[in-house]
Symmetry: D2
Subunit: 423 residues, 4 copies
């Protein structure tokens, strides 16, 4: 499995373009990332769902739409949206472009095989099996109905997944987000297909990050995710309203034991900046509905928890504040080089988290989850620190000495995030 | 809606032949019914699931099997199994044969339209709508995956159902059992499609009994079934083992208020006699596993509750005892001419039911649901009878006078069923 | 067990006087009943809870209040409230008074023995057992904490209950409402004590009606109630607001199978007329909050279901309308002489019930449970009636002929209640 | 609140003597602790439940037993069991004895006030309030019925609790285990009384450890326990059988975030050695039923999680193995000087925990929760360690170098517990 000592950081097309992003839009965001973000650790550029659907034009799906597909039932980029994919070249040229910027390239796929392939009865690459042999006729995704799941008991199923990842490896794909697999509205989750996909990656000869969606991945199966995936979602799609952010505290708390190098429970994309451009899911074309305090809270939680960070907005429309969120070196230092992060207190009004830097420094996050300004106090000794510590405020950059107790006045839905050093 | 003053009585091919019955087998059972059962009220001969599937050979379904279908996506009998269906004649000749015996003809269908039709994109009769316009891509049946449900919000959906029932009316179908509709493993139940089917029957110009499967139909939606269907299942498929029969007492109790002329909660087929011939669902080819006492109990409960009666066995293999169950005139008199049936007592060991004949006579059923012989007593006054009554034992034909209290020694899982007259 | 061919009818002090009724108030209501109601079947006059508590003055209980008690731990009427109880005479004189009017006398008791007795360690009548021997120290009623339950495994417990009912029999008590027994907030229900009380009644030499409270009695234990009690509550205390009345339809539906001569699921008191005089539970001193339509609906449901009827108001303050509710001979005829009552339809807007007179006539109740005027139609054949029937409207006294279908315009929360005759 | 930088360690009389321990037995165990265990950190000697009950002779309670009590309703040691308590001296002399050994003294109490006091109506110290004023008549403990809870809304309740802790302070009590408060079979848990007790301790002028029972304390109220208590139970009583130990892994996992200096979720007593001498709860007089592997597992889990450690056995009967469990300096070093302990993996067969020493060293515990010998492997990098580490096996004392992966063969229900150093 790929070595991935820190959580993946990147950009994903879903929050701004839904199922309809184009090659040009992807390139423009990659260029922005290379210019403004790469130095801070950002590297993945990910094309989300339906890149094989020529008529996709929003976040809504077209029932029984004809999908671009090769002769082995493998979906191919819609050339009208991705011109460089012409002549069966797939994403090779776009991946090359992204790589040329020093970045990495990712795609989204749905679990299973196209329903249209089953009824055409084409063959699986290198076999005499047909698609209908391996398709599982009632393994369906209710919210995107292009695919059937595959039958884990049929030998052709692994061969089919291998053929997919061989193709992606030949294109130069570095990251695959597989959907309808980590949770299911109808069928719990799809453990057997997760394992087949892990095998397909291992045999394809390329390091590929495996990201699983949607959430909530079942907590009681944490070991399956730890053994097979690099990241997996803890919740359903995350959007820019406070109740969703408040809920993420609880999910992070439940999953915090299972954050490990190379294996990251995923808080989902950051809906900051300019989003909803062609994604109609949670309000129209807009700048994020989150207040600035909520954005600091979100970034603080994602980073102290050590979630993957995937930005959801059109990067070229970033304002200064949004850019500042993505280029806070002290924040990203915490994201990358800490361990044992966990919630230490939750009251109806406050949440407190801590984590430990690999060098022994400690982080402390005080969140005001209430709707009023509150003074929050927290004694240093409760996280095993001595009575006197030096602190750096990650957001304000203020530094100084704290004796005994941290005491801060914090805005509603706001945060105080400190790095604490004993020397 | 068809007038149906008494519960339908008939034969269904499922319990003995699964999805694979042939025309010849249907005819032989119809001939038996005409000769031995018709005089007692039995009249429906019903061909169960998959008559459009040429390779069906048991109770198991073939994934993505090619189905016989006309140019308007309407399924047609497989000619290899139903030779008289050749040249697009459908079930016309078989229905004529059944009618010639003085009996009625029924078929089973799955809710929705064939998946294969959707991917062929054929037209709906008399419209420019295609099958993919009306198909609902995630409205699936998980246990038989031939069909998609249809979208109740699309105008073509009603037209499609109308075209189905017009075809069935032209064949002379008297009874349609619609499956995957009264309950759903995934989606509660399908109220909108029930209503479309009701409308399709009303416009087709023929009296057709509407039977809905599978169970359990949701009790809290009783009024939907009462308004639209003639019979509907209270449980999942019923088979010949005691726990299933014991459970039926509870279901009958819950539904007893809603037995009305023309509208009958359905206890499902009677798995008596020779069953399982090509149905592998609950044990192999066999004579029923029920003891004789359990068979009397089953018939007594079905009839005092006023369930439809559909026999599941190969009739031509009936022994004398099995035939006697189906030709008990006093039992069928109770089935046909009573009202207000209800459970009056249930202890851990006993269940007692009563009902009222249209002429005022009363019925009393004492069931021993324990595993031991028990003496069961029941005072006449508890069901508002005077201290002295004349009785007829429905099963033993014994007659006499009862004073004050009925007292009977009853076998394990057995029954005493009495008609009580005050004059 | 007492023969009780029709549901008990009477008056109870709770709804108007809470825990504080006085002898004079009881007498005045008895006098009213004798004069105005007795001829219609009303007969029980019941003193509700806390008659042994000298300081009781409302529907609220006094924690650790000293209770009047004899030397054997049997509670005695508080003489300041019931002067005729002086010199240890108990309720003898009051019962005699009620009997002299041709009526019957009832009392309320709490399950168990007084806590104060346990800590005084007095003896049980005729034994050397002490109260602390039989008391169950954690069998408590959370809403009235005067008593401990008794230990069904101790031989003294039955002796204690016998001593209670011997005392009540000596007073001439005809009806005992036992509370904290048919349901429990903490301990399911108290089956063992129900059976002990049944035995105590059987041995006391007097016919006493046994009424069990509070509800909801557990439906799955119906046979325990049928075997031991004459009436038992289906809900928690019932008061004069529509949601409670609407809920009673569901409870009556669930229990309708178990209405038997002598054994009646109980809808609770009728909160009509002048109530809440010293009962602070659900609003202050008032005339009932129910509209006239709701009162007709309540009486119709109670009577077609065959619930006991206990009036809760100060009878002497009855207006003409309230009195008319209690003196409708046709309604009480239905209450007394019918069987097999059951709900036949429930939609979101309508509920329909039917029952059968012992002479074969039928009753039909159409309830409009919606908040708007509605026309409700119901075909006669659905309850097995011929196409033409004579009808009597129980409330308007209108008579005539109905052909095929009953069609009535009914007020919100209103009812049409008909007696239907075929001759 | 008392400063308590490490989890309390001590002995408790419950597992061996139930409700019946005597002064002499307490003294003998204190002497053993002073001689054999004190140097390793053990210090608390705790007298468990019913020391005020003269007839207590096992782990079973005597209903309505007379309790020793002073004139202010404060329970006093039964002099027949604790002779030094004569003349109203309470536990003063016994506490002095324990202190003289360099140890600390603790007692158990039930929440609330004696029921017997309520019915005697004595006064609360320094007030005119009576016990019946503050008693809550339905706030009961179902498994030990000596007490009523007190009404948090009455001003006398805090005064009463103050009077209790003033008395305990005057005796020299260092530790109070309050029962029927952290969880309730009937009433969730008793937050208001927890807060009153916290206040009572704060005002009494003595440092007293507050331990709350029974479990399971509700996880969603963690902040209430963190703010008010020093330790609180996560489960019901823990005994010596594997399912209980297996379950503790899940509880520790859920609570691990909330282990803080001075505030410890509690795994309950260690049922090792000679237990059940007069405690009949889970088998008779016995040496622990746990295998040696299970005992190592238990100690490893309790200590890496940082639970309080309270030994339950008769110390004077310890064998060498039992004593060795209590005198492992490396184990106790981990218990005392670590933070951020948490589960990092759980499969159906294995559980892995880690924690961090205050000096930066790491601990790793590999548990085999299956019933077979298993080889368990765990890569160092998963807990952020470099590829090469020095290790000390806490149980075998083996030392050496590990490269990349820990790989151990572990017995069923056994453990490998390592301290890992990077230098």
């Amino acid at each position: 499995m790929i070595e991935l000592r820190t959580p993946p950081m990147g950009w994903n097309s879903w929050d701004c373009y839904g199922a309809s992003v184009t090659e040009e839009e992807v390139k423009q965001n990659a260029l922005y990332m290379a210019k403004h973000l790469k130095d801070y650790g950002w590297e993945y550029v990910v094309v989300d769902i339906q890149w094989y659907e020529p008529t996709a034009n929003s976040s809504w799906y077209h029932k029984f739409a004809r999908l671009e597909m090769d002769e082995y039932s493998r979906l191919m980029p819609a050339v009208n949206r991705f011109p460089s994919a012409k002549d069966g070249k797939g994403f090779k040229e776009l991946a090359d472009f992204v790589h040329s910027l020093g970045l990495k390239f990712g795609i989204h796929i749905m679990r299973g095989i196209p329903r249209q392939a089953v009824h055409m009865n084409t063959k699986i690459l290198g076999t005499d099996y047909t698609e209908s042999d391996i398709a599982h006729p009632n393994s369906i995704c209710p919210w995107n109905t292009d695919m059937y799941g595959v039958d884990p008991n049929h030998p052709g199923s692994q061969i089919y997944y291998n053929s997919l990842f061989d193709l992606y490896a030949s294109w130069g794909v570095d990251f695959v987000k597989v959907d309808d697999i980590a949770a299911s509205r109808l069928y719990y989750f799809h453990e057997a297909e997760i394992k087949m996909i892990r095998k397909a990656i291992e045999q394809c000869g390329r390091d590929i990050v495996l990201s699983l969606s949607p959430g909530p991945a079942p907590l009681e199966k944490a070991h399956v995710f730890l053994e097979n995936a690099n990241m997996w979602r803890m919740t359903d799609d995350f959007w820019d309203h406070w109740p969703a952010l408040l809920n993420m505290f609880e999910q992070c708390h439940k999953w915090s034991s299972y954050v490990q190098p190379g294996h990251y429970p995923d808080c989902d994309m950051l809906p900051i900046g300019h989003i909803g451009i062609r994604n109609y899911d949670n309000g129209g074309d807009r700048y994020t509905n989150f207040t600035k305090d909520e954005q600091l809270t979100m970034l603080s939680l994602w980073c102290i928890f050590r979630s993957p960070l995937m930005v959801g907005c059109e990067l070229n429309d970033n304002d200064e504040f949004t850019l500042s969120l993505l280029t806070n070196k002290d924040l990203i230092e915490m994201l990358k080089n800490t361990h044992s992060s966990h919630q230490v207190l939750r009251t109806p009004h406050e949440v407190v988290w801590t984590s430990t830097h690999l060098n022994g420094d400690r982080y402390l996050a005080l969140f005001n989850i209430s709707d009023e300004v509150r003074e929050i106090t927290f004694p240093l000794h409760k996280i095993y620190l001595p009575n006197t510590c030096h602190y750096l405020d990650i957001w304000t950059k203020e530094q100084g000495i704290i004796n005994d107790v941290v005491k801060r006045t914090i805005n509603p839905h706001g945060v105080c995030l400190l790095r604490l050093t004993t020397k």
